[in-house]
Amino acid sequence: MINRTFTCIVCPNGCKLNVTASEDNAFIVTGNKCKKGIEFAENEILNPKRMLTTTVKTNFDLMPYLPVRTDNEIPKEKVFEVMSILRKTVIEKNIKVGDIIIENISNTGVNVIATMNTEEKRYG
């Protein structure tokens, strides 16, 4: 028996959702002002997913850390596993925004991509 309350973050309305589920897994969502709230609540209980953004180490003096993100959401329970892989990653060659750093990380089907160029024009 599930009984959870949380705030819907699909839109700025921020409905306070209450979700109950009976033994046959039928969800009853209350507090939602639209259909998206039901979908959000079901996903949050059955298969919560999150984007992950962090940095990876590089060999470049001007940019010792390169910002990266997953190119899609990954299962919430894999967030710390993915973090530990990325902590061991070192960038040795020049990278552009959108380049894949690690393909199919932790078998999630999701790639980790760079969100900045390693080479940036600098003055002085």
Binding site: F6, T7, I9, P12, N13, G14, K33, R50, M51, L52, T53, T54, T55, K57, P64, Y65, P67, V68, R69, K76, V79, F80, M83, V97, T115, M116, N117, E120, R122, Y123, G124
Partner: protein, 413 residues
């Protein structure tokens, strides 16, 4: 060298302003004190940027990169000059515009520009500005500084962290520090409602079981060299600590996320009137301040919660700075009730085009109608299920022929 428009600051507002001014025919100089473009977005590695503009959840870095690419492409036309590692030390009004004294790599340079756009962003309110008692050990950081250390330099801040203030950067740092292995003990907010966006409360705190304590604040720091702990107290409705509610929490790091203040040191020297509500310049719908030729946009004008609106104001300021050749002093004052935190712009110049307004509610409200009046005549209304102080609203109001603009809020019965 004489420019049409000098843009100060190359963050999201300044990048958009420079591109837009150039596209509208101006000869532009873009001045940035750092050695890279992008402003604070360089350290905003988290996602959620650009949802309105691009319909995508980009990281701050990616969002900045899109504008940097456009700027570099537009620079090929030869009408944008970029001055990095350059600080504007002084601005003087001259007959046909402004004289800017620039300091760069040990050298001084004077340039002239007919107009100036201030896109200088905002600064963090510091721990000193919220009056915490006790010693002054290391381990106390503003949230943005902590973000810089961790995301740009890769320096970890501490192991046991307390966060004061529920502003968005504080919430994002709570998640970031947790992902990097720190133990975030809690977020303490003196107000009775969170300062940050709902999605950040949910994804940065609730996801990691980080508790949020409303109506609580840090009242004392402990420790000689490094922070050893903080005293937490409950506060009353006036945010005054309640005696007898003190609680000691052992920690080595305090992150302070207690608000942002628009940066306006240079405009003050030019006698640009500032608003007591926004702490930014008073502007009309063309983003022009009350001093001829001076424009303001982005977080220097008022602290935004979404970068999309920052870029939008930069684009508008850049466009109007490039195309406007007259300065009207005659303007209609925009007034609002205490139900509003603020309304921007604060003045309206006579025009047939509708004007865009940004406003914030002063406290959480449900089921209200925002109405705009010209005298007794209602010229605009919109229903809101929810209004929250951290979430800015944008509306377009017809202003043709108005003699007064008054914002009111009514509760739907």
């Amino acid at each position: 060298m004489k420019y049409d428009v000098a843009v100060i600051g190359a963050g999201p507002a300044g990048l958009a302003a420079a591109i837009s001014a150039e596209k509208h025919g101006a000869k532009v100089v873009l001045i940035e004190r750092e050695d890279r473009l992008g402003g604070v977005l360089k350290q905003c590695i988290h996602d959620g940027f650009g949802l309105i503009r691009y319909g995508e959840k980009l990281s701050g870095c990616e969002y900045a990169n899109r504008y940097i690419d456009i700027l570099i492409e537009r620079m090929n036309y030869g009408n944008i000059e970029l001055k990095l590692k350059t600080f504007v030390s002084k601005v003087d009004k001259i007959d046909d515009g402004f004289n800017l004294l620039l300091s760069s790599r040990g050298k001084l340079e004077n340039i002239k520009s007919e107009k100036i756009i201030f896109a200088t962003g905002c600064r963090e309110r510091t721990p000193k500005q919220v009056s915490i008692h006790g010693s002054r050990p290391s381990g106390v950081f503003t949230a943005g500084l902590a973000q810089y250390y961790l995301n740009i330099n890769g320096q970890m801040l501490g192991k046991k962290c307390v966060i004061l203030g529920s502003g968005d950067i504080g919430l994002i740092m709570a998640r970031r520090l947790t992902l990097e292995g720190a133990n975030v003990l809690g977020v303490y907010e003196a107000k009775d409602s969170p300062s940050g966006l709902t999605r950040n409360i949910y994804q940065c705190l609730e996801d990691f079981d980080i508790p949020l304590y409303l109506s609580h604040t840090v009242t004392r720091l402990h420790g000689r060299n490094r922070l050893e702990g903080v005293t937490i107290s409950r506060v009353d409705q006036n945010m005054v600590p309640i005696e007898g509610t003190e609680e000691y929490i052992s920690c080595d790091t305090l992150i302070v996320s207690v608000g942002l203040i628009p940066e306006n040191e240079l405009p003050k020297t030019l006698n640009v009137p500032l608003s007591k509500h926004t702490k930014g310049a008073i502007v009309n719908q063309y983003y022009e301040t009350e001093v001829k030729g001076i424009y303001a946009c982005g977080n220097a004008l008022h602290v935004n919660d979404l970068v999309d609106y920052v870029s939008e104001s930069g684009e508008e300021a850049g466009k109007f700075a490039a195309i406007r050749d007259k300065f009207e002093q005659e303007a209609v004052e925009v007034t609002f009730t205490s139900d509003f935190g603020y309304v921007v712009p604060q003045k309206i110049v006579k025009d047939t085009e509708p004007a865009t307004f940004y406003f914030r509610t002063s406290k959480i409200r449900e089921n209200v109608i925002v109405k705009v009046y010209d005298g007794d005549k209602e010229i605009f209304k919109k229903k809101y299920l929810n209004l929250k102080p951290p979430e800015m609203e944008k509306i377009k109001v017809p202003i043709d022929g108005v003699s007064e603009i008054r914002f009111v809020m009514e509760v739907i019965q």
